[in-house]
Symmetry: C4
Subunit: 269 residues, 4 copies
């Protein structure tokens, strides 16, 4: 009985709009604290920041407990990605860190608390989901891009390795250099250097730029528009179904009924 009333209280608190706004405010304060720590602040301010940090951690702990108690099915609570993420962030924040090395990790973990914004605001979660939905379709595009990168990097480090080891030493460094070329970042400096030895090496760079830039553009636009059109088609169908507008199928059924009526009237005759 006692637990039941606690659960009801938690549920009403979790669904309370004001409580949600309060948590959002706490996340923003947490983000500001993270930002403040990057500035050179006097020591007494630093201790205030540390206290506020603990307050934020405790409120987060309280909020996750409320959410856990409010949940109908306790077993399924930790199967949801965001719940696991929120819990992990809070638990790691709770571990007291004294020595400097762990403090560094602790600070990094606190930064990821800003991501809780996405787990709280529903619109951001929808946005992220629509992005993730396009990912599997992009998988093979990324693989194709990687193959192009790998082949060009292997050729590059084989031919240009002796010219500038800084850029073409091994296949990893060469791929980084090619990514730089793909973003057009001082790519002519890279090209002119190798053109001094191999005058026709511009073919290597131009073919690479065309293959990656064009293929990439072509495919990304294609996939984005296709995902979008699917969504629109679905929306339109749902809308039409909801409005109860007659479809061509309805018309067909109506005409069939007409035929039946006429044939019946003939029988009557």
């Amino acid at each position: 009985m006692n637990f039941q009333s606690l659960q009801n209280f938690s549920l009403s608190l979790r669904n309370n709009k004001l409580f949600e706004l309060f948590v959002v405010a706490i996340i923003i304060i947490s983000a500001l604290l993270i930002g403040a720590k990057t500035y050179r602040v006097p020591d007494h301010y630093l201790s205030i920041i540390r206290i506020l940090d603990w307050v934020v951690t405790l409120i987060f702990l309280f909020e996750i407990c409320i959410r856990f108690i409010a949940d109908e099915e306790k077993k399924r609570f930790f199967t949801k990605g965001w719940n696991i993420f929120d819990s992990l962030i809070v638990i790691i924040s709770l571990i007291p860190i004294e020595d400097s090395e762990m403090a560094f990790v602790g600070r990094l973990v606190r930064i990821f608390r800003v991501l809780r914004m996405i787990s709280i605001v529903p619109e951001l979660r929808v946005l992220l989901n629509s992005l993730l939905k396009a990912l599997p379709q992009l998988g093979y595009v990324v693989l194709l891009m990687f193959i192009i990168f790998y082949i060009y990097a292997a050729i590059g480090s084989t031919i240009f390795g002796a010219i500038n080891p800084e850029l073409w030493r091994d296949i990893t460094i060469s791929m980084l250099t090619l990514f730089r070329v793909m973003t057009f970042e001082d790519w002519t400096d890279v090209m002119y250097e190798t053109m001094a030895v191999y005058p026709f090496s511009w073919i290597y760079y131009l073919s690479f730029i065309f293959l990656t830039a064009f293929a990439f553009l072509n495919m990304v636009i294609g996939i984005v528009v296709s995902v979008l059109e699917d969504e629109h088609a679905k929306e339109r169908e749902e809308k039409e179904a909801a409005e109860g507008k007659p479809t061509i199928e309805d018309l067909s059924r109506q005409i069939e009924e007409l035929k039946l009526m006429i044939s019946e009237s003939r029988k009557v005759d």
Copy 2:
């Protein structure tokens, strides 16, 4: 009676195409004056510019008065954004400014007079409105981008702060540096500098570029196309309605009438 005729005169003047062209010409002259002032001009030309500037201000004052008098409902005049903007620009231009500090502000205000072009030309106003309509939908995208920027900036200033304070001193400067990386502006210089200390820091830059560039592209295209399709669907419906073409609903109604006719004819039998 006297005021009524004044209002009628104002109304006819305001709706006059020639008067509109005249105002557009004055705005262009005003823009040219602003441009001319940025060149090193001899003193006697400068005084001509100053006189012309006053003439422009007075014509603007005259035009806004005409528009105010012509308006049917005086109270609603200042609820429209462009009217407030136009009035403010004229009033601030009227304040005589002598000392150098205020003169600076005065010059800046005069520059914004070019924006009156948008308030006068209807096509530009339509363009701006369609842009503003897409803004609220972009709000959450901007928020998501800001969260990504904030987290990476916090990590960046924590880890790289000691390497180059110029670029990673605090969270604000780090965000500016990350914006630079996002525009591919000499981003490899920034990366190579930190790679000298942390050889794996290229993961930080590449993941950031993928997250922002791809997410941004994906979402902007998505929203633009979706806004566009909505408009097209609306246009098509309006066009069909205007042309009086029969819809599937009309067909359904016609068939229902047929059924009624047949069942009636049966009753007659």
Copy 3:
């Protein structure tokens, strides 16, 4: 009679596929000659190039004469843009140029002979026309962009003029600098320079980049897609009309006929 046969001969020659290919080949040779002249070639080759250049000019003259004679309506010949362009290019090429200054102009004119490729190949002409069709719709976008550029350039040269006259001297130079910022070309160098004096001047650059880059992207995509959809809708309608598929209007007419039949059959009763 004699002229009639000449016209017929010209017409058959003009419509001959082989003759068209021959002209395309001559244009390509003309382009190669232009390219060859930019290399350092020995003097005896130069005289060969000069002779070939004259041959090309004479063939072009011959071809334009054939086209003029073949044309049914001589008066309308010079109302078509491409005919005027072709004739002008040939006539200017004919003028003998000796002194070095005119030779320079003559060389430039010969370069534009490559554009004859577009006037000959129909597919290229279609491509260019579809580009030109989108231009008027882009007119107001370009005007809006220009207003944004003008205002920012005026502010820039007012505030930053004293910091670096090379970049912000007057409004023209400032607009060029802003165009550079818009293409992300070493824009941080420009920004860091002014940030040393005005630490908040990054607001100026970031707001400018957002306004131009985003507005531009938004509108260009919008217009491209909208032009495209119009074409598709037109194509679809034409296709459906050509295939003789029944439309909803046809159905409506058919049902009306049915009603008439039934009401008539009732009268008969």
Copy 4:
């Protein structure tokens, strides 16, 4: 009889999912070997790499033999592009190469073995085909771009050739410089250099950027979206046909039947 059973064995092996995965694994190992060779590895590792390389070549030879034996029509085997590609790669890998010059070619050939990934994974082959399908439509766009580049390069090397021979020496180098300008790579450095001699040369650069960047963007997006819409229209039609939904034509036929029934019933009367 003996060959028939061999063929059956080959066929079952070729269609075996595990065998396909094994070949993919071998290709990945082959790719890793290529990558490993770009690093500075101790000599005894190098001999291991050489042995593994031979193992990979032999497995590839075995796999292509299996595919050849399994094929029903031996004559058509070498008409398929990927079969020719695979065979060529294997045969060249088999040639024993000792001297350093041929070894260089041998290494390059081994790099292209990574491309076998595309010939094995069906999804990648589909992706590549959809890219190749858009190519012919892009042909004329590329031709138009090339004409713009050629004309600007001819003008550039004529006017700017004396200013900086490094960038504007002849038409080939000028086209490379213009490609650099198109990618916005330090293009202002190129421009400022010529503006020192010809102050109005910014017109040359800006008009070039507008022509190429805008024309390119406009056309690429246009073609991508149009290819996409065609595919979607096809898919939709196929889907509707498969679902057996009534079309407007079906309705028209139904109404015609109704008319027939009524006119018959009248005759009966």
